[in-house]
């Protein structure tokens, strides 16, 4: 019989390395054992093949890694894969679950295998995912999810939806027990978007999509013509808060997750990783003084905007901090950093953006971060420089009262060590709400130029010096009646008003009253913030026992 030779082939016919020899089953007694070994090997291999070479190529053609390749970026250690052949096809049901060793820490990890059924969900992998999630909580280890799923597996019918429900439930149940980082790869719609957002932090890279439905459905249902990137790319979700961090590619996302993990505790019973620092806690930081001089000696004076991250980088260990939601609502900065080796959650008003007022977005951003720190025993430091919540139609329409109140509630609920350093402005309701002594701060400090007052000079003077202002008006009317030119009379009156405002600023916009009432613990001189905050933090942490949150659940989130 003649063997037909193809005209085109990709095998090397001159290869000296023979292909792997298959078992020789000519010996009947050896056959069963050999076959078992072979079958076993096949079973071990099957999930790693995913949807086969052709599907892997498609994945690669989109510049995306397979789930196993992504695992290799997270750790050079082989993952300890669990329930490898779960699923009707003994193929692992398009989801990979396991335990990974990351810098000596155990981390539970899952990843959709997009090459198999486009990573879609059915009852089996829903159950598989839920089992991993519960195991992470039981063992008290963080969870990393690598999402790359087209949604529910349609042929599985209701089973696919049930699979999602089971996974949703598991992830919600462990929320607050172990932290979870959700990495978004590929195209995630519907349940594929809802599921990962239940995690603590979500990281999205370029050329990916997250959304309820894709542009196709949007076009047919709404008539809206939009690209996937415009609808649900990182440019969208980095701004709306759906994603906490955005990156340029998959490798960037995986590495960012590893960096974020360095600030996260394993679970709600432990502290975040502590390591002694070589950056002296008592170093005098003259840069603080320089920064404030530079800012407040400018033409805008005490009204000059101050990029608070410039201050933050002076006080943290080796100047390093890790900002969350860095593209969104930067009037409020949320960041992890270390002081004296302790991981700290920082919430800071940033007057360099929109005057640092607290608007709906800023409140949401801070609320979420504060709740995370509170659940996971991360101490908090508030850097305060805020004139108030943003007023106006737009904000009221969006419900600033609800969102501002949520921020206040999250602060009141804090049970971890928390401190506030008032740098400049602390006015009115914002002062009261923003981790003040009576909302439960362990310590409130103020810089000498702090302006702690009920209102700013314009509004405040109206109330405090009501009589003086009325007297000026009487003078004004009198002068007019006496025939003084109106311009002249106005000038006299305005000069008087200016004096009153200045008097208000001088007498009332300072930390004195707050100090006298015990609302502020002490003055902190520029240059010594790191020392004062660091020493106080060390004291608070010495006397703090990390444990899960307890007590009644409050009504609002």
């Amino acid at each position: 019989m003649e063997i037909e030779t193809p005209e085109y082939a990709l095998q090397n016919p001159l290869a000296t390395r023979a292909p792997l020899k298959r078992s020789d089953s000519s010996h009947p007694s050896a056959a069963f054992y050999e076959e078992s070994i072979e079958r076993g090997r096949e079973l071990l291999e099957r999930p790693k093949r995913g949807g086969g070479l052709a599907r892997v190529r498609v994945q690669h053609a989109k510049n995306r890694m397979t789930v196993f390749e992504r695992l290799r970026v997270l750790s050079s250690h082989e993952p300890n894969l669990l329930w490898q052949n779960w699923g009707k096809g003994l193929d692992g049901a398009s989801i990979v679950t396991g335990i990974l060793s990351v810098s000596g820490r155990d981390v539970a990890v899952y990843g959709h295998d997009f090459t198999l059924r486009a990573g879609s969900m059915d009852a089996t992998n829903g159950a598989k995912l839920a089992r991993l999630i519960y195991m992470a909580a039981e063992r008290g280890i963080p969870l990393i999810g690598m999402n790359d799923s087209a949604g529910a597996f349609v042929p599985a019918g209701v089973g696919g939806l049930d699979g999602y429900s089971e996974a949703f439930t598991a992830l919600r149940r462990i929320s607050g027990v172990v932290p979870c980082i959700s990495l978004m790869f590929g195209y995630n719609a519907g349940g594929g978007a809802y599921l990962p957002r239940q995690g603590s932090f979500m990281i999205q890279c370029a050329d990916t999509f997250i959304g309820l439905t894709g542009p196709g459905v949007v076009k047919s249902a709404m008539g809206e013509d939009v690209t996937a990137d415009e609808l649900g790319g990182p440019g969208v979700h980095g701004l709306n808060g759906v994603c906490d961090l955005t990156t340029t590619d998959e490798v960037g996302s995986l590495r960012t997750a590893l960096r974020l993990l360095q600030y996260l505790p394993n679970n709600n019973r432990e502290l975040a990783p502590f390591g002694p620092t070589s950056d002296p806690l008592d170093r005098f930081t003259l840069e603080e003084d320089i920064l404030f001089r530079k800012t407040f000696d400018s033409p805008a004076g005490m009204s000059a905007p101050l990029d608070i991250t410039l201050f933050l980088q002076q006080i943290v260990d080796h100047g390093e901090y890790f900002e969350l939601q860095p593209a969104r609502a930067r009037n409020m900065i949320t960041a992890f950093g270390r002081i004296g080796g302790h991981v700290v959650g920082f919430v800071a008003n940033n007057s360099a953006v929109a005057s640092g007022q607290i608007d709906v977005d800023a409140a949401r951003k801070a609320t979420r971060f504060i709740r995370f720190c509170n659940l996971y025993n991360v101490p908090m430091i508030f850097l305060e420089d805020v004139a108030g919540f943003t007023p106006g139609t737009e904000q009221e329409t969006r419900g600033i009262i609800l969102e501002g109140r949520r921020l206040l509630d999250a602060i009141i609920d804090l049970r971890v060590p928390s401190m506030t350093l008032i740098i400049r402005n602390a006015f009115g309701g914002a002062y009261a709400a923003y981790n003040s002594h009576f909302t439960g701060a362990d310590a409130v400090f103020a810089m000498p130029m702090a302006r702690i007052a009920v209102m700013d000079a314009g509004g405040g003077a109206q109330f405090v010096f009501k009589d003086e202002i009325r007297a000026l008006d009487v003078e004004f009317q009198k002068a007019l009646a006496n025939g003084t030119a109106e311009v002249e009379a106005k000038r006299t009156r305005d000069a008087g008003l200016k004096q009153i405002r200045e008097r208000y600023e001088r007498e009332l916009m300072n930390p004195n009253e707050a100090l006298s009432l015990g609302s502020v613990s002490r003055i902190v001189m520029p240059g010594t913030s790191r020392r004062v905050l660091g020493e106080h933090l060390a004291f608070l942490m010495r006397t703090y026992r990390p444990e899960p949150m307890a007590g009644p659940q409050r009504e609002f989130e």
Partner: protein, 914 residues
């Protein structure tokens, strides 16, 4: 220092008493510069065992930008020696004097024995150095006397002329000329002096010009303005008229006397460009303030020259030259690549050269020898007592002296790679030591100057090479900002001066994100390496750059530009002698390449191949090879600098191009393997899978390489034509030993492996189509460009394709927030932008006050202000989204629709696919 066995030692631990007498252990050095040299100095001081050192932290190092605290602070050994200054240099004379006083006070108060200023602006400032000397502190660098004699460009020219060196035609006393224009004679000058209460005495034995010069000096000392900017402009105009009378086609260069690094320089082509250029020169040199010394050189701009310089070292009594450096590859007056040029190198190349090349190299050897001899004479005449650089321009085999930079230069590391210094005890032939770092030599001279014997230079490596990694876009325009998230560690043969950006967090060992906005200037790092020949040197640099991984957000550097260039030189010839215009022409050529590449639709091209494949197994093969082929091609075509580098490197080796036709020379499989290697995509375990060849692609490529290796060993056939003939004739017995089936299998494998590889020819075709492959190295080592690249204007136009400006739809700028509008930062200041004014992306346009906070609103793109809708309404309240300016954006979104673009690309692709 290094002992006789070249083992590093400190002087105080040396073997002989003579060597120990040069101890540096008593030194306490204050480092007053930023940039890569700061950390380099710390490292040298650690090695040589100075007692202590300190640093000046400027505001840009600490409080101006987030995420760019001076990285040197991480693990800094002497935290108590960190001193603060607002900046290293003030705007204007008065502030500079204050700064000098401040630095001197720090040095005195903290008992520093020496001050080191690296290559900062202050290093060459005679006032600064003199103030340090007066305070009794040592200056680690040329003394103020040397700076005065040689550093100021006008003085240096005079000195050089007196020594008989060749200099460029020009005027070096434009300020004196301006003064004489209004005060012609003795009486007028004396009257002027009296008016300003200057103690001026007419010197009858000197010329009027010299007297004017003397009066000007008195004026500078008292910050009295004797010559206004307008008068200087007029004097410069008349000097230009004189030069143009003789050289009507040349351009003229203005250069501030104390400038360096391309700052304070302008080139003009027409008389009406003169006044503005002078304002620019003075502004950039920060001498606009009345009473400043604004003297600048007016000289013929020599258009096609090379830029060579000689490293000098001396102690006032002796002066030694340390070979040359060719710094001709530069752009916007900033050097990009510096390569060593020494007698030893030229001689080594001469040994294997013949014909025209031999002639050129002999000329090079001759002018190099002359330059070195003249430089030593000049250095000795100025009493050089540290290190300096003797800068020349070279045209053919002639050189002209330009200036002496009385400081260590950025590129000093190139010289350190080629020569070390051998110091000999005059009383004992067996007692000697080596120094191979110039900063160490500077310390030695500063501490023991007159006692240091004249060293001998000893060759280290034949060749040294430096590239400057700068924060620029692909068109080499400065690019502000960008955040570095990670940077691979230096390779074994790599020397990297990165300002400490790579110093990890000492506590967590993680890379600390670094915001490039805070860098000293656009220079981020220097990368150096060596070779036993210039070719090996370039090979090593190519490998370093190939493996360098620099990741971040919105990060743009010239790393790919360098990688492409180094590969290009490796292919075209590393002994090439580019002139200072080379880079702008090269950028034009790369821009033309980018235009062709942007029109290429690779997926469409691949679809076309699939359509052409008739057999089922052929289609299957193409499907299996899709990522293998398209992935590296897409990467290469997405980056015109990489594409240019690959074209330069492999033209003639992998393919040949002639008369618009291209054909494979090497086996296309080898071509593909080189492409993966070039792109740093070959299989390696230390990289993420997304950054190396996919495993299934590797399997095919490796099978193919094994197959052809076996064929070569059996038949000797390796090149493309050989393989074609092997498989087009009768079955080869050498290959299959008469086994017809085996031959048929081999034929099928050959067809399978080759199928689709014709796509690789898109690379040389794009090179031919754009004209890039016509950029050639000539016999005389010059580089010839087609006219549209050689012409500066059309080259600049082409280079725009490398960095297209962001396009805008909008004709207006609206306020992103509600508040009170102000056009200016403070009442006494002018508006931030005015009608008719051009603005750049990121430039502040206006101020919105919200709740007593003043927020600067930045331009989202670049354009020109047509009208200010809020003119004269400072202080009025605006709503979010309200129009502030009517503008004309620089680049509009083209009128071309998506379909039209697709059609154009389709046509271009099919044409290129042939």
């Amino acid at each position: 220092m290094l002992d006789r066995e070249l083992t590093p030692r400190r002087f105080d631990a040396a073997e002989s008493a003579w060597q120990r007498s040069f101890t540096l252990a008593g030194l306490k050095v204050l480092v007053v510069c930023r940039g890569p040299v700061r950390l380099e100095a710390f490292q040298v001081f650690d090695e040589i065992g100075v007692r202590e050192y300190g640093m000046l932290l400027s505001e840009k190092d600490s409080v101006v930008y987030p995420r760019c605290l001076a990285p040197e602070l991480r693990g800094f050994r002497f935290p108590h020696n960190v001193h603060r200054v607002p900046d290293y240099m003030g705007a204007g004379q008065e502030e500079k004097q204050r700064r000098i006083a401040q630095i001197v006070a720090i040095a005195v108060e903290h008992r520093y024995t020496h001050v080191f200023a690296g290559y900062g602006f202050m290093a060459e400032d005679a006032d600064f150095v003199a103030a340090i000397e007066r305070a009794g502190v040592g200056f680690m660098g040329p003394s103020s006397q040397v700076i005065r004699r040689a550093g100021a460009k006008d003085e240096a020219k005079k000195q050089a002329r007196a020594l008989g060196n060749a200099v460029i035609p020009g005027v070096d006393d434009v300020s004196a000329r301006a003064l004489l224009a209004k005060a012609r004679d003795r009486a007028a000058l004396e009257k002027l002096a009296k008016k300003h209460a200057l103690d001026f005495r007419w010197n009858a034995s000197a010329s009027a010009a010299e007297n004017a010069e003397a009066l000007l000096q008195l004026g500078y000392e008292k910050t009295v303005e004797l010559v206004t900017l307008e008068e200087l402009q007029r004097a410069a105009e008349s000097a230009c008229t004189e030069i143009w009378a003789q050289y009507p086609t040349h351009r003229i260069r203005f250069k501030y006397i104390g400038g360096g690094g391309g700052k304070g320089q302008r080139v003009v082509a027409k008389q009406d460009e003169v006044p503005a250029a002078i304002v620019d020169v003075c502004a950039e040199s920060k001498v606009l303030a009345p009473g400043s010394n604004r003297n600048f050189l007016v000289e013929l701009n020599i258009e096609r020259t090379r830029h060579n310089e000689i490293q000098l070292i001396g102690n006032g009594a002796w002066c030694l030259s340390l070979g040359g450096r060719d710094c001709s590859v530069q752009m916007h007056e900033q050097k990009l690549i510096e390569v060593s040029l020494t007698r030893e190198l030229v001689e080594q190349e001469l040994e294997r050269a013949s014909g025209k090349l031999r002639e050129v190299l002999r000329g090079d050897a001759a002018y190099l020898a002359r330059m070195e001899a003249e430089s030593e004479k000049f250095g000795a005449a100025t009493g050089l007592d540290s290190v300096s650089t003797f800068e020349c321009i070279v045209e053919g085999a002639n050189h002209f002296f330009m200036e002496m930079n009385t400081r260590i230069q950025v590129e000093h590391g190139v010289t350190e790679l080629v020569y070390r210094l051998r110091f000999q005890n005059p009383d004992d032939a067996n007692d000697f030591f080596y120094v191979d770092q110039l900063i160490e030599a500077m310390a030695l001279l500063a501490a023991h100057g007159p006692r240091v014997p004249r060293p001998e230079r000893v060759q280290r490596f034949v060749s040294g090479l430096e590239v400057r990694i700068n924060a620029t876009n692909a068109a080499l325009q400065p690019h502000a900002g960008g955040l570095i998230r990670s940077w691979s560690a230096p390779r074994p043969d790599e020397i990297r001066f990165d300002q400490g950006i790579g110093i990890r967090n000492p506590d967590t060992q993680s890379f600390v994100y670094y915001n490039l906005a805070g860098a000293y200037d656009s220079n981020v790092a220097l990368v150096l390496t060596h070779g036993t020949s210039r070719r090996e040197n370039y090979e090593r640099m190519a490998e370093i750059l190939r493996r360098m991984e620099l990741r971040g957000d919105d990060l743009q550097t010239n790393l790919d530009v360098h990688y492409g260039l180094v590969q290009w030189f490796l292919g075209r010839g590393v002994m090439a002698e580019p002139n200072t215009r080379f880079m702008s022409s090269y950028l034009g050529a790369v821009g033309a390449l980018a235009q062709v590449a942007n029109d290429l639709d690779l997926e469409l091209a691949y679809g076309e191949l699939q359509k052409r494949a008739k057999q089922r197994d052929a289609r299957a093969v193409l499907e299996a090879k899709e990522t293998l082929l398209l992935r590296p091609l897409a990467r290469l075509f997405a980056n015109a600098h990489l594409l240019g580098g690959f074209l330069g490197r492999y033209d003639g080796e992998l393919w040949k191009a002639a008369n618009g036709q291209v054909a494979f020379v090497a086996n296309p499989v080898r071509f593909l393997e080189r492409l993966y290697h070039f792109l740093d995509l070959e299989a390696r375990t230390d990289k993420p899978p997304a950054e190396q060849i996919w495993d299934h692609d590797l399997e095919i490529l490796q099978s193919a390489l094994d197959f052809y290796a076996e064929i070569e060993s059996r038949t000797g056939a390796a090149s493309h034509p050989e393989l074609e003939s092997l498989f087009s004739g009768k079955p080869s017995t050498a290959l299959s030993g008469g086994d017809a089936t085996l031959f048929a299998k081999c034929l099928a494998a050959h067809r399978g492996f080759q199928l689709g590889l014709e796509l690789l020819l898109l690379i040389p075709r794009a090179g031919a189509r754009s004209g890039f492959l016509d950029v050639r190295l000539e016999d005389d080592l010059s580089i010839s460009f087609p006219e549209r690249f050689a012409d500066a204007k059309s080259a600049a136009e082409l280079a725009r394709a490398l960095a297209p400006a962001p396009k805008a739809d909008s004709d207006e700028i609206v306020t992103p927030m509600a508040g009170t509008f102000y056009a200016r930062e403070a009442p006494h200041l002018p508006p931030l932008v005015e009608e008719g004014q051009h603005f750049a992306a990121g430039q502040p346009l206006f101020v919105i006050e919200v709740m007593k906070m003043f927020n600067k609103v930045l331009a989202p793109f670049s354009g020109t202000v047509v009208r200010c809708a809020m003119a004269g309404r400072d202080g009025s309240v605006v709503k979010k989204g309200e129009r502030i300016f009517v503008i004309e954006p620089d680049e509009r979104r083209g009128p071309e629709s998506a379909d039209e673009i697709a059609a154009r690309r389709r046509e271009a692709t099919l044409a290129l696919l042939a």
